[in-house]
């Protein structure tokens, strides 16, 4: 099993009447609610927590990209990863990821990811999300019905830029470069690639075409993810691919204390803050028309951000959130038991541990992270013994493994 300690970097100072006064935590939240002096303190706390996670033995430390979003303070995850690259030495830098359709020209992603991989000695794990409709369409203005075409072209450019030994001309529809030339090149050829998906059928196939890792990053918890992940694994079978659990990853909110009662006492308010305040997204921003393909809509897959998909979390008690698996909470044994259900039920080899939650202070976050690392992770480490040698989907830092041959690994890109 691979465990990545993930920090969304939420803004913890949303007022108590936020839901009444504002329609959305995302896209049109007034930036007057942001205080840069508090932000200074927060960035440094959050980076401290990520560095601490490496000390605790997490395999990866994770950052992601959101725009105009009060539960994610990282419009540029690469800046966070660069800070971490210099202060860590073992953990994979899990950048999940860069919304490649939004970089102009997208070769910028090939360059910055190469820089991160070189600085860190081959520890970069590269995520290529299409990006949510909130980020990609509403905040960054990308035309919804063209987003996927632009994404596919950006992917082709980035992979070629990493692969080609000489400058080449790239005549795309959206990007035209007479001299496409990625300098520097990444140490890993290429870094492992993780694709966040929300149930698009095309994304299943995209991952399988290139042997990328399919990641379901939901806040809905593992019980509600079963149907979607079953759909993915069915597709893996249909395509005749091997069933390595390392082909898949899942994000789960987790809080650990000495006992179940202590978990509720200490973490309840932070869970409330996240689910009831941070996920307050105006439904009109959930899915710009044209963003999802018709094939996906016809399969009746709704956005993970709709009220329907999330359930009405705003009125959910701690008991409901825990019972329905939105949150895995409790003593180390309680958490380990549910984590086993998650790992086997969804057949995942990668867990993105959302242990910092909402407005959780640093001391509680560190305690929960430590208990998970020391008392839960050891119980879960060897859940996929038959795949213990499968290192195709993880980083290959300098000095640990020979790098994979570039051309074969990148495929037809």
């Amino acid at each position: 099993m691979k465990f990545t300690w993930f920090n969304l970097m939420p803004w913890p100072h949303l007022p108590d009447d936020f839901r009444e006064k504002h329609r959305s935590v995302w896209v049109d939240i007034p930036s007057s609610l942001y205080d840069p002096v508090k932000g200074h303190e927060l960035y440094n706390i959050y980076l401290d927590e990520l560095e601490y996670a490496e000390q605790l033995g997490y395999d990866g430390i994770g950052v992601n990209e959101h725009h105009a979003n009060a539960y994610g303070m990282m419009p540029s995850p690469n800046i966070m990863a660069a800070a971490l690259a210099r202060r860590t030495s073992k953990a994979a830098l899990v950048v999940l990821g860069n919304s490649i359709a939004l970089y102009n020209p997208p070769i910028r992603v090939a360059e910055e990811f190469a820089m991160l991989d070189v600085i860190s000695g081959g520890r970069l794990l590269a995520g290529f999300p299409v990006g949510t409709s909130m980020d990609t369409n509403y905040v960054y203005g990308d035309i919804p019905a063209l987003t996927r075409e632009r994404y596919a072209e950006a992917h082709e450019l980035i992979m070629r830029a990493w692969r080609e030994p000489e400058p080449f001309a790239f005549n795309g529809r959206y990007t035209k470069l007479r001299y496409a030339n990625c300098w520097p090149k990444p140490i890993q050829s290429p870094p492992p690639i993780f694709i966040p998906g929300g149930g698009s059928l095309e994304t299943y196939d995209f991952c399988l075409d290139f042997d990328y890792v399919y990641c379901y990053l939901s806040f809905g918890g593992y019980k509600r993810a079963k149907q979607l992940m079953d759909g993915y694994w069915q597709r893996v079978k249909d395509r005749g691919k091997d069933l390595s659990p390392y082909r898949a990853g899942f994000a789960q909110t987790i809080v650990v204390a000495e006992s179940d009662a202590e978990a509720e006492r200490d973490y309840r308010e932070h869970i409330d803050y996240f689910y009831n305040r941070c996920l307050h997204v105006y439904p009109g921003f959930a899915d710009a028309p044209g963003y999802r393909t018709i094939k996906t809509l016809k399969a009746n897959v709704t956005s993970q951000m709709t009220q329907q998909a999330l359930g009405d979390v705003s009125n959910m008690s701690w008991d409901q959130l825990v019972h329905d698996g939105y949150v895995i909470a409790g003593s180390p044994d309680t958490v380990a038991k549910q984590m086993k259900e998650l790992i086997t039920g969804l057949r995942v080899g990668n867990i993105f541990c959302l242990i910092h939650v909402g407005n959780m202070p640093k001391d509680k976050c560190m305690r929960s992270s430590k208990l998970f690392a020391e008392e839960v992770m050891p119980q879960l480490r060897d859940m996929w013994p038959e795949y213990s040698n499968d290192d195709r989907f993880w980083v290959h830092p300098l000095g640990t493994h020979a790098n994979r041959p570039a051309a074969q690994a990148v495929g037809a890109g």
Binding site: I143, L146, A288, I294, L297, K298, N300
Partner: protein, 260 residues
Amino acid sequence: MKSRLIDVAGRHQIRVYEGGRGPQLLFMHGAGGLLANDPFLARLEQKYSVTAPLLPGYEDSDSTEPLRTMLDFTLFGLDVWEALKLKDPILVGHSMGGMIAAEMAAVSNTTVEQLALICPAGLWLDDDQIPDLFSKLPFELPPLLFHEPEKYGALLSAGGDFNDPEFLTDFLVGNARRMGTAGKILFPIPDRGLAERLYRIRARTQIIWGESDRLIPPSYAAHFVSGIAGAKLTMIGEAAHMVPYEQTDAVLAAIATLHN
């Protein structure tokens, strides 16, 4: 009104509604498409020989090569004109269709001779901004589109029930196809440079606007009038963005000034 599927330039297979007798009239629909048994077209066909093509993404109109840019949409309109061998039709466009019609008249300025733009999109005023149509929920649309939302709002859902999962899926799929197409020229801001091309329009032009239009405010009308040489303006009271449906007689009278 009768309809049929036609091929356009080997790139699009689209539905076109046709009917009526009289002067030829080519109608370009807005972002919402045509309404069920479209009442405005029904009135137009009493006076004109009407041709109303549906853009790819509307009903069963589709493309083998998708429309992406404003030029693609403009050439699509001109290709339909050519495919149906229309002769000097009055070109009428509503909302997004007005934007496309204006572009057609600017690009092909020796062929488009009579032009009616009904609260057209295509311009952007920082001081009087057009609301974000793409983030609106269905129930938010009628007040934006109609002078009397209670009276006409039901036209939009054609009587469907949003609590019925099957209807809802069909609606979401249809809406994604329609607005996905519309977004290519309207998202996130409905400006693809038309202001810089209005000067090319030589057609006799009527600008028609509903006085209480809250989607594209009437302040935009003056910019179309000043941008197009000789354009005349008809402002219509007790009507909003859906003026063709709310004040059909007045809109027909304004169009008639182009040929009477």
